[in-house]
């Protein structure tokens, strides 16, 4: 269960202060599918980053299964993320010098899995996302949709409890986007899934739907 307690995050650029997250309270039960929508600049990415421990809040707490993740030291937070959270972004963030397989293996290497074990898991995961035939392609040799599949495989190969996705279909055409969403949904049946999206229809398909404006949650259903 993710519990967000009165989180405030301000950015100060020069003289102006931006309230990116302005007192957000939220509880996400285990295994839930939550969509976050709202205008550009409303603080969606910021909220996601706070949940994922990528940014530290100015005040408030983010508790994941009772652990205040922002109180963890750097090393433990990294370990925590590696073990519990998967990330998918609008841009795919793949290392161009590595093959699809190696890119997917990265978090498993960090987990210190043996070579055989991580090969097997990564292959398995790439097959699940439909890239069984593209294991040794470098990102540059893959299409946009395929790249996003690789990054999904990378996010899910560690079997995370939580998957956070920031506009994962934003860079893809409508049809590919739908395929990718269907794929993610089919692979995240047991995990908590927080999805930031601009797509109204997609947002509505989530059982829990949050709309943000000016760093605040203005509506929540479910």
């Amino acid at each position: 269960m993710i519990k967000i307690e009165n989180v405030i995050k301000n950015y100060k650029v020069g003289e102006t202060q931006v309230h990116a997250c302005n007192g957000v309270r939220l509880e996400i039960p285990d295994g839930a599918f939550v969509s976050v929508s709202g205008r550009s600049g409303s603080g969606k990415t910021t909220l996601l980053n706070l949940i994922a421990g990528k940014e530290k809040p100015d005040s408030g707490k983010v508790l994941i299964d009772g652990v205040d993740i922002h109180k963890l030291p750097d090393k433990q937070l990294s370990k925590f993320r590696n073990e519990n959270i998967g990330f998918v972004f609008q841009s795919f963030l793949l290392e161009p010098s590595m093959t699809a397989l190696e890119n997917v293996e990265l978090p498993l290497i960090i987990r210190k899995y043996s070579k055989e074990k991580r090969r097997e898991i990564a292959k398995d995961m790439l097959e699940k996302v439909g890239l069984g035939e593209r294991l040794y392609h470098k990102p540059g040799q893959l299409s946009g949709g395929e790249r996003q599949r690789v990054s999904i495989a990378r996010a899910l190969c560690t079997n995370p409890k939580i998957l956070v996705a920031d506009e994962p279909t934003g860079n893809l055409d409508a049809k590919t986007g739908e395929d990718i969403m269907a794929l993610i949904r089919s692979l995240t049946k047991d995990c908590t899934f927080v999805l930031v999206t601009h797509d109204e229809e997609l947002a509505r398909s989530a059982p829990i739907r949050i709309v943000m404006r000016d760093g605040k949650i203005i509506s929540k259903n479910g």
Binding site: K54, K75, N82, F92, L93, S97, L106, I109, R154
Partner: protein, 396 residues
């Protein structure tokens, strides 16, 4: 395992942007080339000096001269009585006092002609009794000289060589010195050891009279004597002195000054290297910031990125250092030509210039340590200037 993956990744980043590091490689190559030669040269001089001190008996001698300016002009004679009392005060076992003369050998019986100007020495018989016992080098020849009677001379092999005479002809012949006196050659000094002081004199003339003054005197000390402690006494007598023991010290001092100067110049070079490397590293760090961000999300820590940066930097130092070592091996020949004429107190100090393995290892070590430290500095710096350096992400 993680480290290996990080190293592999760093290498692929380096390969992707080779051109960015070329300047660093060149600067590290230059610095290592320089370091290798500085240390090889300094080491060479030091061992040369050690050789010199070890193999040359003269390092336990002090030569004194009198170079006082008086009203009549330069007073360069030594008073014999005074030299003897100085010898007593110094507690030396022996003293050699000599009067050197430039002698023109004007005629050699049976062989008329224009002979070369050679230096000759009048050997004062009374003094030979004061020679140090342990002065082994010259004893063989001294024995022959001891037999000299008035009007006789002994010539050295060098004299034979210079006059083009035959060994069997020479004994019994007469030479006339430029002062008009004639001497009968009664013997030949053979097989003088290399470096013997007698080598420099080619003709030994008998002269039973002890003169009031001599040109210079040489004191031979036993090997354990601290030469420096004796110098004070000589200075009190107002004589100028020269001793190879002191010149060896002086040469060692010069060698160390020289390597110190080399080190200072190196430090300046190293700073230049570091600056150029830091620049390249900062660009790389900025460019891979997005990737690092991702890496952190996947479970790596800042320390891992620090490792990558230091590794990347270390590789540059290693590549530069190795190129420098190779360059050093290639260029020794021509460099030696440049420096071989350097000399110190008339002694060739650079008989040979060789790249020593020790200096190569030292240099490589310095390069790697410096570059890794630069990596560390770049990493620390990057967290401060991150916002400015973050370029477009390389990730796709």
């Amino acid at each position: 395992m993680v480290k290996r993956c990080l190293m592999k990744l760093s290498l692929s980043w380096i390969l992707r942007h080779k051109e960015r590091y070329v300047l660093s490689w060149i600067s590290f190559a230059i610095i290592s080339l320089f370091l290798i030669f500085v240390y090889s040269l300094a080491g060479g001089i030091t061992s040369q000096v050690e050789d010199y001190v070890k193999n040359d008996h003269t390092s336990n001698q002090i030569n004194i001269r009198n170079l006082r300016i008086t009203e009549e002009g330069l007073d360069d004679d030594l008073n014999t009585d005074k030299v003897v009392s100085l010898a007593k005060e110094l507690g030396v076992q022996g003293v050699r006092a000599l009067r050197t003369e430039e002698a023109q050998i004007t005629s050699l019986e049976g062989k008329e002609g224009d002979y070369r100007k050679v230096s000759a020495v009048k050997y004062y018989a009374p003094w030979r009794l004061m020679l140090a016992n342990d002065y082994t080098d010259a004893t063989s020849s001294i024995g022959q000289i001891e037999g000299l009677k008035d009007g006789q001379a002994i010539v050295s092999e060098e004299f034979l060589r210079q006059t083009g005479s035959e060994e069997k002809d020479i004994v019994g012949k007469t030479i006339r010195m430029s002062d008009g006196n004639e001497y009968t050659i009664s013997g030949l000094v053979k097989d003088l050891p290399q470096g013997s002081f007698l080598n420099s004199y080619m003709v030994f003339l008998a002269d039973e009279k002890m003169e009031d003054t001599v040109d210079f005197a040489t004191f031979d000390f036993s090997e354990e004597t601290d030469i420096k402690s004796k110098i004070k006494v000589i200075e009190d007598y107002g004589y100028s002195y020269s001793t190879n023991s002191i010149s060896a010290d002086r040469m060692n001092e010069i060698a160390s000054q020289y390597s110190l100067a080399g080190t200072i110049i190196s430090v300046v070079f190293i700073v230049v290297c570091m600056v150029s490397l830091i620049n390249s590293l900062l660009v790389t760090i900025g460019e891979n910031a997005a990737f690092m961000e991702l890496f952190r999300l996947l479970g790596l820590t800042g320390k891992d990125y620090m490792f990558m940066t230091c590794f990347t930097a270390g590789i540059q130092g290693l590549i530069g250092g190795i190129s420098g070592v190779l360059l050093a091996y290639i260029t020794t020949g021509s460099l030696y030509k440049l420096v071989r004429n350097l000399n110190l107190k008339g002694m060739d100090i650079i008989k040979d210039l060789q790249v020593t393995p020790k200096s190569c290892v030292m240099t490589l070590l310095i390069c790697v340590v410096v570059s890794v430290l630069t990596g560390l500095a770049a990493f620390k710096l990057s967290s401060k200037v991150k916002a400015d350096t973050i370029a477009d992400s390389e990730l796709i």
